[in-house]
């Protein structure tokens, strides 16, 4: 460990530290991702260079890189690089919007879905092939192609051919490919399921809670969306649980978009996930983007309302863990990977810079490529601000070096954001230029009045409050494996 002494021992060694005062305590963090909670006197002593060098607190703060003259550069640099490992690799996630056709009419749909018969909004095989070729141009050794829609199963023939072609390209390129499908399951059958399992496609669906809440949010003309979802969740779970060698069968997962009708039903929703054998619940807030923006007064909510729901849900999940129930909340899990393990959890929405283009690309059904799925949703509403190229026409280099990509990278750099650069949550947070653009007319946004900022600050407040309890900390560490 390298120790550098101040030239003048009387000069206080004021550290580079961000802080947040709440409830008589002060959370301090640094750029390397270390954190500690102090009382107000200790905080004053830290800033004034008056800490007793013989105290245990001095030793802890020294180890965590809070003392300017006592920095273990090797440790701190290593922690920073680990936490920001995404800066050293290219675009990993490639979202293919196979079709905008859908047989559901979800109240919060942001994808711009159209009626099931509207085949003009299917991705053609030619576009899909070119999109696969573009995705494999990423310099990253491991990539993920995620099929979305609308409902991707509406364009089954192209989906099937694309999966075959992607696996073939994987072998030829030597890269590692993960495939994922996000589906409402309404068009699933045994033959399709077999094909997906054989080709190692991981399956994800939406489950918004008990039947009443799920069907209210996810209107399915063909009948009972909840019933169909559970039927196939159970099917894929059984295939996973009873596998014995051969091709690995992934466990299916589900996620939840929290809408206005979810609020007030935190426990019922968590219980629904537990009852169906799901080990992870992902409580995603709704974003005022694209189609959802138009109906925000009907489906949306204030950050405080979401935070109240989130706090109740997370506390209930922890209670269940204490009773031996295996259930994790995914947002918390991803943030805790950063806070406790200095790891990059691959959460493209919350990193610095954000994942626009450099972390993910969204390939629309017509071959247009966008910085991200959110940027594509803005495009669907008639504004191509976040379009970065076309599959088969644009070079990979032009996509990564165009002004939209650069603009998103620069504007989501927290070091350049007036409020963010000195925020205690900076080491773990990130902004979204698309949400800024849609809600505040600027990719830079204005954090003091930004709802998304308020929301994530609230989530961090909840997490750090819960972390103060050692029992909770133990459970959270178990979630990280």
């Amino acid at each position: 460990m390298i120790k550098n002494k101040a030239k003048d021992d009387k000069e206080p060694a004021i550290p580079s530290v961000n802080w947040r005062k709440r409830n008589g305590r002060v959370l301090v963090t640094n750029d390397f991702g270390y954190y500690h909670v102090l009382n107000e006197k200790q905080f004053g002593d830290l800033l004034g260079g008056r800490l007793d060098k013989k105290s245990p607190l001095f030793g802890v703060l020294e180890k965590k890189g809070f003392l300017r003259d006592m920095l273990d550069f090797a440790d701190l640099a290593g922690k920073w690089k680990q936490k920001n490992s995404f800066l050293f690799s290219g675009t990993g996630l490639h979202i293919f919007v196979l079709t905008l056709r859908c047989n559901h009419k979800c109240v919060y749909c942001q994808s711009g879905a159209v009626g099931e018969k509207n085949v003009k909004q299917d991705m053609s095989w030619d576009v899909a092939k070119k999109s696969v070729e573009m995705a494999f141009k990423s310099p990253r050794n491991g990539i993920t192609i995620e099929f979305q829609g609308g409902e991707p199963l509406c364009n089954w023939e192209v989906l099937k051919k694309t999966i075959d072609y992607a696996r073939k390209t994987e072998k030829e390129s030597g890269k590692n490919l993960k495939l994922a499908l996000v589906s409402n399951f309404s068009l699933m059958d045994g033959k399709k399921a077999d094909f997906l399992i054989k080709n190692r496609v991981s399956i994800c669906t939406s489950l918004d809670g008990p039947r009443k809440i799920h069907n209210k949010n996810r209107i399915f003309a063909g009948g009972d969306s909840y019933g169909v979802t559970l039927k196939w969740l159970s099917y894929f779970k059984k295939r996973h649980d009873t596998q014995s060698g051969g091709v690995a069968v992934y466990k299916p997962s589900a996620l939840l978009t929290v809408s206005k009708s979810s609020l007030g039903h935190a426990r019922e929703i968590v219980d629904e996930y537990v009852r169906n054998g799901l080990e992870t619940i992902f409580l995603r807030p709704l974003s005022p983007i694209g189609y959802a923006k138009k109906f925000w007064d009907v489906i949306g909510y204030e950050p405080e309302e979401f935070l109240s729901f989130y706090s109740e849900s997370l506390k209930y999940v922890l209670d269940l863990n204490r009773k031996g129930v295996n259930i994790k909340e995914k947002t918390a899990q991803m943030l805790l990977h950063k806070i406790l393990n200095f790891e990059d959890p691959g959460f493209l929405d919350l990193r610095c810079p954000c994942g626009a283009s450099i972390g993910q690309l969204a390939y629309n059904y017509d071959g247009s490529i966008y910085t991200c799925d959110e940027g594509r949703m803005v495009g669907w509403e008639g504004d191509d601000f976040f379009k970065v190229g076309d599959a088969g026409k644009s070079s990979y280099k032009s996509i990564m070096s165009n002004s939209q990509t650069k603009g998103c990278v620069i504007s989501s750099n927290l070091e350049s954001q007036p409020m963010c650069f000195r925020c205690a949550y900076k080491p773990y947070c990130g902004v979204c230029p698309v949400v800024n653009y849609e809600s505040q007319n600027s990719i830079w946004g204005h954090m003091p009045s930004n709802s998304r900022c308020k929301l994530f600050m609230g989530i961090f407040d909840i997490l750090f409050d819960l972390l103060a309890n050692s029992e909770n900390e133990k459970i959270f560490k178990k979630w990280l494996g």
Binding site: F86, L87, F88, S89, G90, T91, P139, C352, P353, S357, I358, K397, M400, S401, T405, K406, V409, I410, N413, E415, S416, Q417, P418, F421, W444, H446
Partner: protein
């Protein structure tokens, strides 16, 4: 159209910040003159005084951003450059 003007402190509001603000708060005309620490900002708009206040609010926002960018430019540039180069495979 009304006219409104005030002298502002160049130590707080740089010309760059005022220029950026005038692009954003764009529903009026902005004229900046003066030197040696004092700038006069004259505006022409419907409800000129209100427009002036919005302009100066935005100028403060832009000045804050300029100051942050200047102070953090080294690390900001490192992060942006690294992420874009990695995305290109370099």
């Amino acid at each position: 159209m009304e006219t409104y003007e005030e002298r502002v402190d160049a130590g707080i509001y740089s010309r760059e910040a005022l220029k950026l603000a005038s692009f954003i708060v764009s529903h009026g005309r902005v004229y900046v003159s003066g030197k040696n620490g004092k700038i006069t900002v004259r505006v022409k708009a419907e409800k000129a005084e209100l427009f002036f206040k919005k302009l100066m609010n935005e100028a403060l926002n832009q000045q804050c951003r300029i100051d942050v960018a200047r102070n953090n430019s080294k690390i900001a540039r490192l992060i942006v450059t690294k992420s874009l180069l990695s995305a290109l495979g370099k």
